[in-house]
Amino acid sequence: MILMKEVMEGKLPVTEGVAQALLRCTTCMNCTVNCPSGVDPQEVIKAARKDMVGMGYDNLFKKMGEVVEKYGNIYGEEDRHDWGHKKGKAPYALFVGCVGTFREEESVGEAIQLLDLLKVDFTMIDEVCCSGVMEDVGYEIKEELALRNIRELQKTSANTLITTCPYCYRVFKEHPSYKELGLEVKHITQFLKDFDFGVKTLKKVTYHDPCDLGRHAGIYDEPREIIRKIAPNFVEPTRSRENAMCCGSGGGLRGSFPEDSIEISRNRLSQMIEETGAEILLTECPSCLHNFRNAKLRKQKIEIYNITEFIAQLLQEGREKELA
């Protein structure tokens, strides 16, 4: 904020270095909820990033935009895993997003398995990146991709769109490019909160609030309702809910400064392990999950899962025991 103030007041020239420095924010909103003056710094940062791009200081996400347009995902991957759930029409449509698909494929597979075990009638689509992330890093959402997702989702005749990624959830729910979607949008924790899973773990479990799910979307209770059903030994970290520390993956930081991003994750993970002594860390965001798994040191014995992935594994273990 001081940097931008100096620029605005003409005390600091706009340089490549300034533009780069503005990319060092995860847009996690922790400043926002703690600002005594009611300022929302991450919105200011995002606006400044756009200004920088407008002034000719393109950043590495320009290339990502080209990749998203060409391949339909942020990683430029040509082959997308086919989970075989494209039945066409169903009451529910499931959208899993780029990070889950290409970085945490097994976790997405388990979430799908969970929906199957719970006998949810859902379909997947030929999805492309929701492309909302472009707005956070100085560029515009890709309208063509948004239209393609809307078209594919409407073909399903679903009433409800379930997203596994909290960022995609926000984009579908809030971004004007998706206003014609016509489906109720639910994050998977909202969708699952009323289910009975019939399984429990006695292990000590803690939960990390993803910034996109918590501070950005206000979804704090649903994940906890689910966890309390399956984990009687649930322990809150000291910094949780509105005050949860970021995992370091948001706002383009993982893409632009991956080592710093993982280091933030390492700090957050160590903090939660020390405070809670948990054996299991749960979250429900592919980006948080991926960053924590990258950050975990060999000496740290904690296991890290998305909630959906963990429940699917408990259910499958239960079935295996029944069959044994």
């Binding site: 970085r103 991956p258 080592e259 993982i262 990258n294 060999r298």
Partner: protein
């Protein structure tokens, strides 16, 4: 030897998954080759499985990730994983900085040392293979 600007030291064994192998007594040390690390860009993560894991030559057993790419690590030999380079846990870019030295990745106790014969060691063969790989990659 240098092939199209990429370092491929002689005396090492190379597989077609872009990993190298060096025999050290009854163990085999493995890492990523220079072409692959340059293509991957700055490496930020390597999965370091527990020692004792059984490995199969040519089969993937962990992941490696740069800022722009996620790949698999394929074992150069069948056998038991006996050591990992723990420095990579906090400094995976050692692979970029010194892929044949400080950036070594794993040590394997092979079930059968004869398996090295499945790897490439002849400079002419390595050169022909790498040039084809570069040509293939440049099409993408």
């Amino acid at each position: 030897m240098k092939i199209e600007g990429y370092e491929f030291p002689e005396g090492l064994y190379y597989d077609k998954n872009h990993f190298w192998a060096r025999v050290e007594g009854d163990l085999v040390v493995m890492g990523m080759n220079d072409y692959a690390q340059k293509m991957a860009g700055s490496i930020v993560y390597v999965g370091l499985p527990p020692e004792g894991k059984k490995l199969v030559q040519g089969k993937s057993f962990t992941k490696i990730e740069s800022g722009k790419w996620l790949g698999k690590v394929f074992s150069v030999m069948s056998g038991e994983l006996v050591a990992v380079n723990e420095e990579l846990e906090r400094k995976a870019k050692l692979i970029n900085e010194d892929c044949y030295g400080k950036g070594w990745m794993f040590k394997i106790k092979p079930d059968n040392m004869e398996e090295v014969k499945n790897l490439m060691t002849d400079p002419a063969m390595i050169q022909e293979w790498l040039k084809a790989e570069i040509a293939e990659h440049s099409k993408k």
